[in-house]
Subunit: 422 residues, 2 copies
Amino acid sequence: MNRKVVNASIITIGDELLIGQVVDTNSAYIAQQLNRIGIWVKRRVAVGDVKEDIRKALDEESKISNVIIMTGGLGPTADDITKPLLCEYFGGQMIVNEEVLNHVRYLFENVYRRPGAMLEVNLKQAEVPDVCTVLHNARGTAPGMWFETNSKVYISLPGVPHEMKGLMQEKVLPKLKDHFVVPAIVHQVIFTAGVGESMLADKIKDFEAALPAHIKLAYLPHYGMVRLRLTAIGDDKNKLEQELETQLKLLKPLIKDWYVIDEDLTMQQVVGKMLKERKQTASTAESCTGGYIAHLLTLDAGASSNYKGTVVCYDNQVKVDVLKVDKKVIDELGAVSEPVVVQMVKGAIDALKTDYAIATSGIMGPDGGSEKKPVGMVWVAVGNKERIVAKEFQFRFDRVRNIEMTAINALNMLRRFIVESD
Amino acid sequence: MNRKVVNASIITIGDELLIGQVVDTNSAYIAQQLNRIGIWVKRRVAVGDVKEDIRKALDEESKISNVIIMTGGLGPTADDITKPLLCEYFGGQMIVNEEVLNHVRYLFENVYRRPGAMLEVNLKQAEVPDVCTVLHNARGTAPGMWFETNSKVYISLPGVPHEMKGLMQEKVLPKLKDHFVVPAIVHQVIFTAGVGESMLADKIKDFEAALPAHIKLAYLPHYGMVRLRLTAIGDDKNKLEQELETQLKLLKPLIKDWYVIDEDLTMQQVVGKMLKERKQTASTAESCTGGYIAHLLTLDAGASSNYKGTVVCYDNQVKVDVLKVDKKVIDELGAVSEPVVVQMVKGAIDALKTDYAIATSGIMGPDGGSEKKPVGMVWVAVGNKERIVAKEFQFRFDRVRNIEMTAINALNMLRRFIVESD
């Protein structure tokens, strides 16, 4: 069997993308999902709600890809541009699809429970080109559409992320797997922390140079952590998996100082997994991170089960009242200091009754810095009842990045602390 | 003076965008910034680290845009693809730029404080095509590059967001404003809550139809809130501002039931601003939102000044111990119930000593639902010492969306409560 890589293009449609009002998260999701089933995204294009621009993008992407996925341009206020254009482009007629019409009515009556809010524009969403296969959108009123011409497939999906995701999982991916004979693609992620991208690349350059042509290595840096991703493409999935296992065995000793885990997990998922395995609990006491670590720990149902709670003590009085930090110490040394974060860890363990706690206090900017304590200076402490370790960080740049850097580094400190406590 | 809209294209370079490992936030930022100075983004394209694909994108975008901004492909492990290609494309020679070289050395010695970690690949970042103007990157080792051919401008920026943003603000935008005679663009945002996109569109369809051709209306829905954005393009900025003011006066009475504010603020910024104006404080008691409301309130330095703290009581014991919720009530009615969120508001006001508090408790999924309390069921309460209001929500879909929907709706409940208390 001749398995060839199938190329795909993603076209996102909507003026909101061109004025920068909306960050396009859909493309990344679609790319990830296609990648998993062996379809390679060659290009991504964003165009406005302009017929000629959409047509031009369709023409161009048809030249390089066999799968063209469009998102957006299907909402009730989208001015009827995308759907009629697709109808014209594929030479069809607009018809009312009864199933979609019933579904729109059902949503307004039984799910939104606002039948009075159903308007002409909503009913119009049931109109589709007669040359497409309708992909039922269980989560919303705009249906997905599947067009085929020659050997190419064109798919139009609504831009609302959870509707698009549902359609991808339930309709698009199964149909694509049926339609194309794709190669096997196997990924192996290795998560490292505490080393920069160029240093890591230098350390493993011989390993990288010796990789066979069908195995590629990607560096995916994120907040001072670097994920390495090995991707193997071929015919035989089992063989590829064995090859990646062999490569992983070669790679691991080279990076042992920075190795975290060889799964594609986030830092908070790694910490959550470690707590679960040890049947232990954690809490956080957050000043400068303002609840962001708690948010990360509760983002996944799985990671959150051994997390009990947080005191966000943005105000010093809360540090004193709830976490029992000594007011004198705050007055003398300031809230951004080692003794304060150490006391915050103790206070969180006592108040929230957990095995471990993380505490953060820092100056996130843009204001509030001084010569001694500049913007980006952060104290983090982690510990249990027996032992607490604290560390000073000096981040730079902007507030949002400082919050994120502090959170990820604090979680990494707890991870190391747990490993060392074993 | 003949002011014409200048078209721009954004090309993002990097395999990580095509495998979906990274969400492209750079394009949205660049688009926003260009838009503000009267440059219209016509297309955005993402391509991999492949010479031919980058060249093809440059050729194509040159046909439709006068400004082409590229990001990415300049990192130390980027395999030397983008920079040599640009050198070849614009017919130059690679030379070492002494200023960049000194800056790389300076960063490693004085900022990163790891001179030993400086590698050949880092020093190589000082090599640039001799046909470009170097844009000094104060925040990192990869310089920005500015190329001019005929009437077109090509700009290459590193993909690291804070480096790209710094270069845009300090170098690219001032140079573009010098280079092009751009039209005046004025935006007016009106923030609404409590109404869907199609209902809103129906309500103001006559207003929209009567808008002059040079004023456009965009609907920007986000978590059940809809931002309306009026954009006027012309020669005379003052005149455009007056025109938008007139339109705003026509629009406001039509949408008075849902009107929040006519500034481009987030919901948490609106709440932060209201607290500041009233010199009042707020706290949150978060179960199901796990600290996300606290995170939103502390994301901007400005919004956070009247926020004091949060108790994230992911575990019921924390509700009892720290927020003094009656254990019997939890046992009888469950944590996701009206009495519990009402007691959480009281507990937060007492423990954190604030004027207002928000409390959330719900079932975020994917597991933990029952017939009586399905996934997506959430109780929210807001109040002060005198009065507390609670509301049940029924969200659907996925966990992350449920957390975000709860947070934004809880903040909107507090906003309404404050308005009603005035």
